[in-house]
């Protein structure tokens, strides 16, 4: 798997985690299966929870 493919695969797992498709432990396992060390998988994923996405909310259109 080249760098681009690895990035794409990791992105999908992160997206699935934040879209509630997979839970934290499953996401970590999937990342480890890709060859990411468990420490990197856990610290990376947990750090993104601190991103606390700054949501831009439009009250008039109701979009989020």
């Amino acid at each position: 798997m080249d760098e681009e493919e690895l990035d794409k695969a990791m992105t999908e797992i992160y997206d699935d985690f934040f879209a509630k498709v997979v839970d934290f432990e499953s996401a970590v396992n999937k990342l480890v299966d890709l060859g990411v060390s468990e420490e990197d998988a856990r610290s990376g994923l947990a750090s993104m929870m601190t991103i606390n996405f700054t949501i831009i909310d439009d009250l008039e259109s109701g979009t989020r």
Partner: protein, 525 residues
């Protein structure tokens, strides 16, 4: 040298022993509730006095050294400046004379008992007594005033007369002219700002003493006499706000900048090797504000000038549990120790049950701040401070007045998709340049860059506004000394990406302090 505050009990005994007030007028019960304030005052005064002495001594030593040294050629043929043997005794004698002149010693005989090898012994007993006597006179004056503020006494004796308690060598002209004058006790403008005016050496408070070496005092005036004098006695109300340490400040206009900085650090307890310890000590220390020419003690009735409070601007919506409300309150308490908020408007605080994000700051497309959300499951004080960091960045430091032009912005931050929104954050404006430099040069930033994680997510984690929010939360933890927040910031640094070790964080912390200081919002700048 004064090295420690006088314990309360000792201070009281000293006051009684020295008969500053007649024993019959001394009400020890009144003072039981003021132990903390007396100790704070003692600590503040002792450290200020230390700095003043060191300031005078430093200048004196530099001046004297110029006279007591001579140029000599050393064994390498270089010209060096050395204390000359013949002048050494002169130097020591002059230094001792200086100490006598400064009232650091009672007389030359006091030097006879000094351990000649102990260079830290400055023989300061007399000065110590003088400082505490002045402080205790103020404490007594405050006690008398406080007793006079009880509703029953205030009703019976609503006014007071300005009287001379003891004869002084030089009378202040303003006081000499006002002897015998009667005013309501509530006339703070007259008692605090006029008769105790700092411009004539007063202390700016409505109780005695009315300046150093002032012989003026106060005498209660009863209701009948006050009415006969035409005073509006019906309007009088007890003053419950003023405390013993009201207006307590130190003039540091002529202080050496280095000594002033050391004094601030000492007063705030910032003499510790790491951030956690510094924080703990700072939390136990005094809240003081650096106002340039003065260092002012922050008290309930004399809040810091650093912007308004914003505890009441984060309004909890229905559904916030007691536990989450306690998290919010603890965070706000920590923040308010550190800085004010500037122009923030009220927003809502909402509890969620999210597991995958800990908190959110939400705003509308038109740029209006709407709400802060905190997960009741995974959110905590650091998360709350993080979201408040976004709020402050977006609303208080909004770059309406100082921002980069579009071209310059894109050169600095790349071709970001949400240029319009990012450019409104303070963290992307010129005010935050020092912060951004410290952030991208930190090891914490490099760790994110090198981590094995998706590029898109990493890019967001590295962004200035996310970096700012994380740094802000860690800065609040460090500056407030909140142990729960310090522990959480450390845990995140150990287990996750995005936070910093104490050493790595130091330049970022300094940059954030500078940003708030320049806005005048720091409580502890």
């Amino acid at each position: 040298m004064i090295t420690r505050p006088l314990p309360f009990e000792q201070a009281v005994k000293m006051l009684e022993r020295r008969a500053v007030v007649p024993a019959s007028q001394w009400n020890p019960d009144l003072w039981r509730g003021f132990e903390k304030e007396v100790n704070q005052r003692s600590f503040f005064s002792a450290n200020v006095e230390n700095m003043r002495f060191l300031n005078r001594a430093k200048k004196f030593i530099l001046d004297t050294l110029d006279l007591a040294t001579k140029e000599v050629i050393d064994s390498d043929g270089k010209t060096v400046r050395m204390l000359s043997g013949g002048d050494r005794a002169t130097f020591v004698r002059t230094m001792r004379e200086f100490m006598i002149q400064e009232s650091m010693v009672s007389g030359e005989e006091e030097f006879f008992d000094v351990d000649q090898k102990e260079i830290t012994d400055l023989r300061s007993e007399n000065r110590l007594r003088l400082i505490y006597e002045t402080n205790l006179r103020q404490a007594y004056g405050f006690g008398q005033w406080k007793q006079g503020q009880s509703p029953a006494i205030l009703k019976r004796f609503p006014a007071q007369r300005f009287v001379r308690d003891r004869i002084v060598r030089v009378k202040r002209p303003r006081h000499a002219l006002s002897e015998g004058e009667v005013r309501l006790k509530s006339d703070i403008e007259y008692w605090g700002n006029y008769q105790n005016d700092p411009k004539i050496g007063g202390f700016g408070v409505p109780w005695a003493p009315f300046g150093f070496n002032s012989g003026m005092g106060l005498q209660d005036v009863d209701r009948e006499e006050a009415i006969a004098l035409g005073l509006p006695v019906e309007e009088i109300k007890p003053d419950t706000k003023r405390g013993l340490n009201s207006k307590l400040g130190a003039l540091v206009k002529t202080a050496d900048p280095d000594l002033k900085r050391k004094l601030l650090l000492k007063l705030r307890g910032y003499e510790a090797p790491d951030a956690a310890e510094r924080g703990r000590r700072a939390a136990q220390g005094l809240q003081v504000e650096d106002k340039g020419d003065t260092i002012q003690l922050i008290t309930e009735d004399e809040p810091a000038s650093g912007g308004s409070n914003f505890a009441d601007k984060l309004v909890s919506k229905k559904g916030v549990t007691k536990r989450v409300e306690a998290i919010k309150q603890r965070t706000l308490k920590a923040i308010e120790k550190v800085h004010g908020d500037g122009p923030l408007e009220q927003i809502e605080f909402i509890q969620t049950r999210a597991r995958r994000y800990r908190g959110q700051y939400v705003y509308s497309l038109s740029g209006e701040a709407l709400e802060i959300k905190l997960s009741g499951i995974s959110g905590n004080e650091i998360t709350t401070a993080h979201e408040i960091g976004h709020w402050v960045d977006h609303q208080a430091f909004n770059t309406k007045e100082h921002r980069y032009g579009r071209k310059e912005f894109l050169e600095l931050f790349g071709n970001v998709k949400d240029y319009r929104f990012r450019s409104s954050y303070g963290s992307y404006g010129p005010e935050f340049a020092e912060f951004r430099k410290a952030y991208v040069e930190s090891e914490g930033y490099s760790r994110i860059e090198q981590a094995t994680a998706p590029r898109g997510y990493k890019k967001y984690l590295l962004s200035m506004h996310e970096g700012w929010a994380r740094a802000y939360s860690q800065w609040i933890a460090e500056q407030s000394g909140d142990e729960v927040m310090i522990a959480e910031a450390r845990k995140r640094n150990d287990k996750e990406l995005g936070h910093w070790s104490d050493e790595d964080f130091a330049p970022i912390s300094k940059a954030i302090t500078n940003i708030f200081t320049k806005r005048g919002w720091m409580r502890k700048s």
